[in-house]
Symmetry: C2
Subunit: 218 residues, 2 copies
């Protein structure tokens, strides 16, 4: 049994690698068998159909992602310190992946049309990650480091936007400044979430440099 598990894990490692550079759609039993120097039926025996393999790759990627980004930050103080640590690790991972690409992001492009079990699992994974971020953002509101009025889902939307822009610029544009721009934008964004909180905590709602009239007038 142990040998079988080892072989399955070796195939899966290879499959994650292949999907990172060629997309989940580029992941075929044939290509994998060739890389592993195994027969197609051997790959199938360990990992099942192509669709089952794609889902196994998503789950393995998710495990690696959580291990690298979420698990190490549990020791950090709740609130902004922990959110910063998460974002720093996410940016670092994206920087390391720039040459291959993030399976979660490229997968979204591949599977955003039509139904199917791979799309369902990708959706579960993206929503689950969003849920982790929302938990952390809610803690930032509790500690007073973020404005109590902020909608955590909107914050996730904006933070994800930066990461999508980073993925886009690092890969398509091959912009060497993409990482430093992301860090700069993240700093400004996080500061803006705190700005209104500090402003409210001073009870100073007039003469506000953070102009909310623009968003109300539309």
């Amino acid at each position: 049994v142990r040998k079988g598990e080892q072989t399955r894990q070796a195939i899966l490692d290879c499959a994650v690698d292949l999907a990172s550079s060629h997309g989940l759609e580029g992941l075929t039993i044939g290509a994998l068998a060739e890389r592993m120097q195994m027969s197609k039926s051997g790959v199938f025996a360990h990992c099942g159909s192509r669709e089952e393999l794609q889902i196994a790759v998503l789950r393995e990627y998710e495990r690696l992602f959580i291990d690298e980004i979420l698990k190490p930050v549990v020791g950090e103080a709740r609130g902004l310190t922990r959110l910063r640590a998460i974002m720093d690790r996410w940016i670092n991972r994206m920087a390391a992946e720039a040459l291959s690409g993030c399976i979660m992001i490229s997968g979204a492009g591949e599977f955003d049309d039509g139904p199917g079990p791979v799309r369902v699992d990708l959706l579960r994974m993206v929503l689950s990650w969003g849920g982790e971020l929302i938990k952390c953002i809610a803690q930032c509101k509790q500690t007073g480091e973020m404005d109590a009025q902020l909608d955590p889902a909107t914050v996730v939307f904006e933070l994800s936007g930066l990461m999508l822009s980073l993925h886009h610029d690092a890969r398509l544009l091959q912009n060497p400044r993409a990482i430093s721009t992301t860090r700069e934008s993240l700093n400004r964004l996080l500061a803006s979430y705190g700005a209104t909180a500090r402003q409210f905590s001073r009870g100073n709602s007039s003469n506000t440099p953070f102009d909310t009239s623009a968003s109300q007038s539309r």
Copy 2:
């Protein structure tokens, strides 16, 4: 000659439609011939090879994009009013495209690996659009509606991030709130660009709710 031009335009319209829903990679001479009820050689005679067709589709998409988003706003006041008009139109277009997908964004995912003439043309198109936004952002700085210290390329990075997040959430997550969240985030983002400008214009650099220490300490 005129008849030929009409036929080419009809094929191109159909090709843009096909690429919107199936991606540039899903655009084949065969699929197009079938939709147009023409022979493959007929399509080829009017539009050339598959690669030439993909590039023609990108250019046609760009023409439509500019016609719909950029041309109508030249009458708007320079600065923030014009930038807002552009972003409003871009969001509206994205909302209308949510069921099919934006060729510029999905194309980035398809062609962000490896070289080739399609990637080169997509890159030209994305950079050209970024250049238009930078022009507009520079005017916002001239009118004093944006902080003079802001790097226009960073602003483009952030605005594009919102649009990428919108495309992602509207398509993969099919989130019905994606459009309203984008507008809300855009309003807050634009307000934050102005906040520092207003703050500087008052010469009040102490007691600032827009905390820049976070970005300096990193």
